[in-house]
């Protein structure tokens, strides 16, 4: 990176099924004001606003960001990479700082999916209308198709994912951004009913609304502000065509080649040689337990064949790395914001501002984002030190 930069402000609304007490602009302003307060900055200090909103049809307002995120007198653009929207917006904001175009950027993502009376219909509309939409694909069946491959290839079991979901539900009780965290047991997951085999109802993140905002500052503007230094940040695209990604020389569908490669790039930039030994914490963007486990090996925190064993070590509390201390997207999954929240949670932990979910000694953390038909991946490495 040509200029060093850090996250100096984080602001989040609560995440809940419906924010019927606020319109979209009000929701955004709440997160923005909190982020600016956290950063001890005024809006005047911001040289760029980047908005993150995934499909407009979830909110039912075309270009919902026009009236809710863009601010008069400040350059603005919007990013949409599906579930990776929030982290992609972060990467886009960072480029302006790296290029020296401004010294402080505000990145904001908002999810308004509570407006959608039939959200699954919207999720079906993201698929190719020529060859695939008629097959009734959904974002959930995409997760389930991958899960069957993870069973085939690595031997994961439905029981393991149920235990992971239960473990995350336990952690969600400590996360004060969640209005109504749900605690349940592995048995509850297994008896909650199959939505799309092998996925059970309770391992799927709930419909969530809310906004997340972050302030990124160039080194010269960090000063004495508590900072989470951006040590590495990378994003990568793959082909949309899932049928072309089932088994390739570079890796199978569930090996998430894009995530593996952008994590490797971010680690190189950060000077991380052995992530399994050096990284203190990961926030993996995954709306389901099975997709969370799909992220372990690409992040280099376990070998591919060790995935199921690594999952067990997370569940029984013996894993060296703190995995999703926020409870992850399984506790709240506001689509447009969810990948930004993963970075925000890493920044809060490094800055010692994570409240009841604070984990001691977090000095190096990695956040991921996954979007589209798992075709967009991002990896961001944050550290307590600038280098």
């Amino acid at each position: 990176m040509s200029r060093r930069a850090a996250v100096v402000g984080v602001g989040q609304t609560q995440y809940r099924r419906r924010h019927s007490g606020r319109n979209t602009a009000e929701l955004v302003r709440e997160a923005v004001t909190a982020a600016l307060t956290d950063a001890q900055m005024d809006l005047d200090a911001i040289g760029l606003v980047v908005g993150g909103v995934a499909p407009d049809a979830l909110a039912g307002i075309d270009h919902v960001d026009m009236g809710s995120i863009a601010r008069p007198g400040i350059p603005y653009f919007r990013v949409n990479t599906g579930g990776a929207t929030g982290s992609s917006a972060f990467l886009a904001g960072l480029t302006w700082i790296a290029a020296g175009r401004c010294d402080a950027v505000l990145v904001v993502a908002v999810e308004r999916m509570g407006h959608a009376v039939t959200a699954p219909k919207v999720f079906n509309s993201i698929f190719d209308p020529i060859y695939e939409r008629d097959i009734s694909l959904s974002t959930l069946s995409m997760v389930a198709l991958r899960a069957t491959m993870m069973i085939q290839k690595y031997g994961y079991t439905l029981e393991q994912w149920a235990h992971l979901a239960a473990r995350n539900s336990e952690l969600s009780l400590l996360n004060d951004t969640l209005e109504s965290p749900r605690r349940f047991s592995a048995g509850d997951v297994l008896s909650s009913g199959v939505i799309s085999w092998p996925i059970h109802k309770l391992e799927i993140g709930p419909v969530s609304e809310g906004a997340c905002a972050m302030v990124i500052a160039a080194e010269n503007r960090v000063g004495s502000r508590p900072a989470a230094w951006i040590r590495g940040a990378s994003g990568l695209s793959d082909t949309y065509e899932m049928g072309s990604r089932i088994s390739r020389a570079e890796g199978a569908l569930v090996d998430v080649v894009t995530l593996r490669r952008c994590a490797a790039q971010a680690y190189r930039d950060a000077g991380v040689v052995d992530p399994a030994k050096e990284v203190d914490m990961v926030e993996i963007h995954a709306a389901c337990a099975s997709s969370e486990s799909m992220g372990y090996a690409p992040l280099g925190i376990c070998a591919p064949a060790d995935g199921p064993r690594f999952l067990d070590s997370i569940v029984d509390g013996t894993a060296r790395i703190a995995v999703n201390p926020s409870a992850g997207a399984q506790a709240a999954n506001p689509v447009s914001a969810t990948a930004m929240i993963r970075i925000a949670e890493c920044a809060l932990q490094i800055r010692g501002r994570a409240g009841r979910r604070q984990v001691d000694g977090i000095r190096l953390a990695v956040a991921t984002g996954q979007g589209g038909a798992t075709q967009f991946s991002t990896a961001v490495v944050l550290g307590a030190e600038p280098s």
């Binding site: 007490g21 209308p129 060859y131 695939e132 085939q152 049928g243």
Partner: protein, 159 residues
């Protein structure tokens, strides 16, 4: 100035709306030809990349990996392998009544997989059905009695 008196509580207003736009999606020449072959000859065709030599199914104008135009049309086998699948067991608006199976199949001769419904699976026990499909079973292409030049003109059945 004194505040105008207003009640403390307010009833939150929700304004109804809908977004029912109609569209016509232009399939383009290559997909149109693929659908014509389904409808007129009841066969599934792929296109081959001249660079990486992969046979892409369904047919594509260009290879998405090499970003070069495909060079030839070739039929693929009627049978193939079910690579990944899911059994949709809950009802969703706009979708067929559950349970139903969808999956990606690599037809014999093809280098990519194609999505479609997998029928003829005993779904009386979802978990047993799921486990039985994990073995990457062989499937056969079955055409509908009425074909209309759509991807739904065929589905797959276990052999």
């Amino acid at each position: 100035m004194k505040d105008v008196h207003m009640p403390n509580d307010v009833e939150l207003i929700t304004i109804p709306g809908n977004w029912n736009f109609d569209y016509r999606y232009f399939a383009g020449e290559t997909a149109s030809r693929f659908f014509a072959e389904l409808k007129n000859s009841r066969r599934i065709m792929g296109t081959r990349c001249g660079k990486c030599r992969r046979l892409l199914v369904p047919a594509r104008t260009f290879c998405e990996a090499c970003y070069v135009e495909t060079v030839s049309w070739e039929p693929v086998g009627e049978e193939g392998t079910l690579e990944v699948f899911t059994i949709v067991a809950a009802a969703f608006p706009g979708m067929p009544p559950p349970p139903f199976v969808i999956g990606y199949v690599t037809l014999d001769g093809a280098d990519t997989s194609i999505a479609n419904f997998i029928k003829g699976v005993d779904l009386s026990d979802i978990h047993a059905a799921g486990k039985s499909l994990l073995s990457r079973p062989r499937v056969r292409t079955v055409f509908s009695a009425e074909v209309q030049g759509r991807i739904t003109d065929f589905h797959f059945e276990l052999i």
